[in-house]
Amino acid sequence: MKHKFEHPAPSARELNGPRYWRSLDELAATPGFQEHLEREFPQGAADLNGIDRRNFFRLMAASFALGGLGMAGCRRPEVNILPYGKSVEGVTPGLAQYYATAMPARGGAIPLLAECHQGRPTKLEGNPSYLPYGGASNLQTQAAVLGLYDPDRAMISTQAGNEVTGPQVNDLLAKIRDTYTPIGGAGLAFLAEPSTSPTRAALVANLKAKFPKAIWAEYEPVDGSAPERALETLLGKRARPLYRFAQAKRVLSLGCDFLQSESGAIGYARDWAKGRRQVGKGEAMSRLYVAESHFSITGSNADHRIRVAGSQLPGFAAAIARRVFAATGRFPELTGALDRLAADLKIDAGWLDACVADLCGHRGAALVCAGFQQGLAVQALALAINEALESFGRTVDLLPSESPAADSIHTLAVAIQTGQIRSLVIIGGNPVYDAPAEIDWPVLQKQVSEVIRHGLYSDETSAQVAEQGGWQVHGTHFLESWGDARTADGSIVPVQPMILPLFNGVSETEFLARIAGDSVTEGYSLVHRTFTELNGGSEKDFRGWLHDGVAVFTGATVIKPRIAAAALAEVLRGTSFPVLSTGNLEAVFVPDLKVDDGRYANNGWLQECPDPITKIAWDNPVQISPRLAADLKLIDPRRLDKDQPATGALDPARHDINQFTIGKEQAHVVRITLDGRSVEAPVHIQPGLADYTIVLPLGYGRTAAGRVGNSVGFNAYSIRTSAGAAFATGATIEVIPGRTQQLPNMQEHWAIEGRDIIREANLAEHHENPTWAAGIGMEAHSPAIYGTDKDKPAAFKAAKTPRGNSLYETPDLDGTHQWGMSIDLNTCIGCNACVIACQAENNIPIVGRDQVLRGREMHWIRLDRYYSSGFESNAAIPEDPQVSLQPMACQQCELAPCESVCPVNATVHDEEGLNVMAYNRCIGTRYCANNCPYKVRRFNFFDYQQRQLDSLYLGPLGPQGKPELLKMAMNPDVTVRMRGVMEKCTYCVQRIQRAKIEQKVKAGASGAIEVPDRTIRVACEQACPTEAIVFGNILKEDSAVSIAKSDPRTYAVLGYLNIRPRTTYIAKVRNPNTNMPGQKDMPPPLSRLEYNQKNHAAAGHGEGHGPMHGETHGAEHAAPAHKNGGQH
């Protein structure tokens, strides 16, 4: 039978589809392409992409309604194949291309590889050619691709809010040039974001030569130059410290969050993890001491953490320095000054002595780092301690840097106040939102008659520019413009565009080149010129640089410092600190771990990512300590007493501390007053803070960020002055009676309750009995799981060991590969990069604040953060908890409980051990989620991908459809799930299949179909800065994952259920100093203490079992016939 269908020709709009999808390579390779581009994005093309969304949706809704009435739905939909008119070199539809680029970020660029599908970047990975980062990235990098396709980006240039064309903008820039050239730039001022780009530096130099009287000011709310300034003061030479954590065996962090917030943190985390992996007997595991005011990621990974308010850190550093200098004989003349500074410090001297003895015992392998937010005194003391400990050249290198040739925002403010400025050009940044409060920038800006703004977003600053009749020139995202940048260690990396500017924006370099009247104004040529000038390289070198994404690192000159005592004494002379109390609090301003200083506020992936420590998404509550909460009568003061009698209920204190009701944190609203300015915010009680420190995360409370970032949280900039940019004392807090606010907290219950899902031991115990992890937990008490195969390798167990006599038919695991994963909890730092990498790779939707409050977040990886106190009482709140971190995604159980309850076989096993989800088969009964012991399945309660998050409850009446722009961010290899479908991690099955197919294609007429080890990097593994996650084929005994799994600390979470998870964890080893106060008897980690209290004491085991408990029991239970298995 044959049918002939006649279809109308496709409409023009349908044919427009692949027009975006052109890569830069075409641009370089095809002559005449430039001309073609002009037609590629006609002036109105952007309108389709979401500007006129409202009308678009209205039409769409109407057409769907009509379609439903007729029989249109019964006809076969017609789809077109739209090939290129002319073939594009290098592009094969269906195959991804990878290009090197870099993400310019605060504190140094991050080298990247961008995955492009027909010219459309969809995923960013770290560039493995850049060795310090080894292909790792962080959560902001992973989320950057969403920023490119943000429908709230500035899409047009405007004057006083009215659209202007590109030529008009060029005329404006030419006019500025012509007006100010004759008068040397008098009356002209620039306010820019600092940049590491050599091209921009060259352009600024040009600009200054052309306009010698103009002001070039730079401002960034979070200033990372404190260490450099300290070195300049001490040495007279500006330099930047580079830490070598891989060489450091003892690390003391003075408020330095080197695992996340410092510049170069990816490399630091990577290096630090190297020292943490060395837990064997002959190896020297590193030890980390942290003194900090707020709970940072670094603090949560410390072996010894001490709470010291930011303002008291100079005293703490002085106390450490005093002891170090006494032990090493350095700077004897400073003893008096240091004693004076340390006099008022209320810190256990035992702690300081033990810490210093440990540091001094590792001279040349010790490292003291001071956070970029610390003041001059702490920076200077840290440098001096490093010198005394002989760290320079071993664990700390000093890299010469140049003083910024820019004025401060204050200089500019004075110039504006005195009426000197007639034209102000604001490049990037967002001063209306984040300028220091004492400047009152919004008022200042109004005093300038002509303001021109260049920026990616139409933000708070743009809004005011429009209000005063100024110009807004829309910029370009780094993925659509040419540029270059320096990484934290000074390497120059290219920023290559992956796509043409989506909205015909003007890049920053082109903008500056036009104002300066440069002969070259095109981004590519500017970058080429800079490269040639800096390196004198050939065209081949340039091509190589673009291809590799990093030039061969020549090795910067390293300074060996000799610190003069006099200079140090001078620094210390002016330092003092006040005593803090409830009436004199210290406000700490920290850049948010997700949205940074506010620049990423409109990125939904980042907003929805829970804060690594508080686990709160979509908000930035003020954090206060339990002590302060007790003083404010928010909690019962008796709760702070660890001998508080236990209550019967499960864990009232741990649950109620933040007033959880029906899954939502009910936060009190407080008013914080600092220097006469006040701000209102919800308050979150955070164990582990310095008593009288309140933490105010920056970056929220935006009013013109866009649909995602608007009115999320409170704006801490409104009370932040430049004198107290990092921390300010004299703050007061008052609870506003009767006002509460719900906070979307993704982990309300933070105690482990003594369960064995976290297993920890101290290094000494590990050396005594390396198999300790196997002895903890229910496996030692449950019936034997692997029976006589217990000691067989993982490969054998996976493929051969029978899986019991279940009624449910279990699949034959006879595939060529058997996939497995190992997660090293020793090196997992809880940074959340994996969470966002997974979201970017797997098309995971954003659900919005309201849905998160209902517990409907969709992340496939959950990063569990547990606190343990070691208290027997469950009514007491710990002030010094230990943190345990655990990434939790689908464990790919071999005997998956979810599979046996699925009525439609939508979740089944494949022959390679994956627990797969056939989304098209799922009918949404949610039985599987109910039966999952790990709670890692996620359900699409709404059509999050197709509906707007504020109108989910309108159902079919709400607008439908995803903005065209956001569709472009989707990974074409992964199904976009709809409402009513369950989803979960499948070990990035698309990457597995791609690798398998590539291998089979390569194999052709042969049997070599086994994918070589490390070919497949799953998204979380690839992003992980510490290489904590290893994925691979467990059938091969020499594969990385098999080697990782052969570690004796390997354990399966809830292993006693006999579900045989393919993801296993390597238990954490802590490395405490036994000379520390309270460590004399070598107490186990606090989580272990809780475990012992809960399991052993109650069950009458007594201490007789001691550390050998596991081993003896393990042996006992090895025999499957052991009858009393569960009766202990």
Binding site: G85, G815, V908, D910
Partner: protein, 222 residues
């Protein structure tokens, strides 16, 4: 006691049951025949912007499949050629033919020729051409021998391409496999059809090459 139900009502349940069985059977038969891809899709031959004849190009002229479908052995997609590929010849041959106007226009403007897609797998199916043609599955298996189509006939769907169609082969690859050198030879036949010796060779081939077509969901659905 009066009769509430007449006597014929005694047979009613049986009749009803019979009726339902027949109705159910008819409905099942109807759906099985009319609603399946075998009926709804096979023979789909929409009017194309250019009446391209595979019979002419591959049959009479003997062009290799990969001259136009360049990425078929590399990419998931077989890739429909760019207008540029057509113009390699048609800038000389039939260069003024009105039928080729859309191709010339596309070559000039860069706008695509809107070919109508025929072999359409659902969005949740991730079919990959490269792995099939590199491992002894010929184009013929899904697209039939297009050298044999009648003159003037455009491309049409010849196989249902349903899940069971895929699984038939995935469960028994030896019955479909070809010598690798015959994959693009559309007139070749399967090894099983070339006598007992070759049929045995096919089974061996599957073993030696470790041809293990996935039968679990993850093979095609992600």
């Amino acid at each position: 006691m009066s009769k509430v139900f007449p006597p014929w009502s005694n047979r009613l349940p049986l009749q009803l049951a019979l009726f339902l069985v027949v109705l159910g059977g008819l409905a099942t038969a109807g759906v099985t025949y009319y609603f399946t891809p075998k009926y709804t899709r096979v023979g789909y031959a929409p009017v194309q912007p250019v009446p391209f004849s595979h019979a002419l190009h591959t049959g009479q002229l003997g062009l290799d499949c990969r001259y136009c479908h360049t990425a078929v052995d590399k990419s998931p997609h077989s890739t429909v050629p760019a207008a540029q590929t057509c113009m390699n010849c048609h800038s000389i041959i039939k260069k003024d033919s009105p039928l080729l106007a859309p191709v010339r226009a596309s070559f000039e403007s860069g706008d695509p020729v809107p070919w109508v897609k025929i072999h359409q797998a659902p969005d949740f199916v991730y079919f990959n051409h490269a792995v099939h043609v590199n491992r002894g599955v010929s184009c013929v298996e899904c697209h039939n021998n297009i050298t044999q189509t009648a003159e003037g006939e455009t491309m049409a769907q010849r196989q249902p391409l349903s899940m069971s169609f895929c699984l038939d082969c995935h469960r028994d690859p030896a019955s479909r496999i070809r010598d690798p050198k015959d994959v693009f030879n559309l007139n070749s036949s399967r090894l099983v059809d070339q006598g007992k010796e070759k049929a045995d060779a096919a089974v061996k081939l599957v073993q030696h090459w470790k041809v293990k077509p996935p039968q679990s969901c993850s093979g095609c659905h992600r």
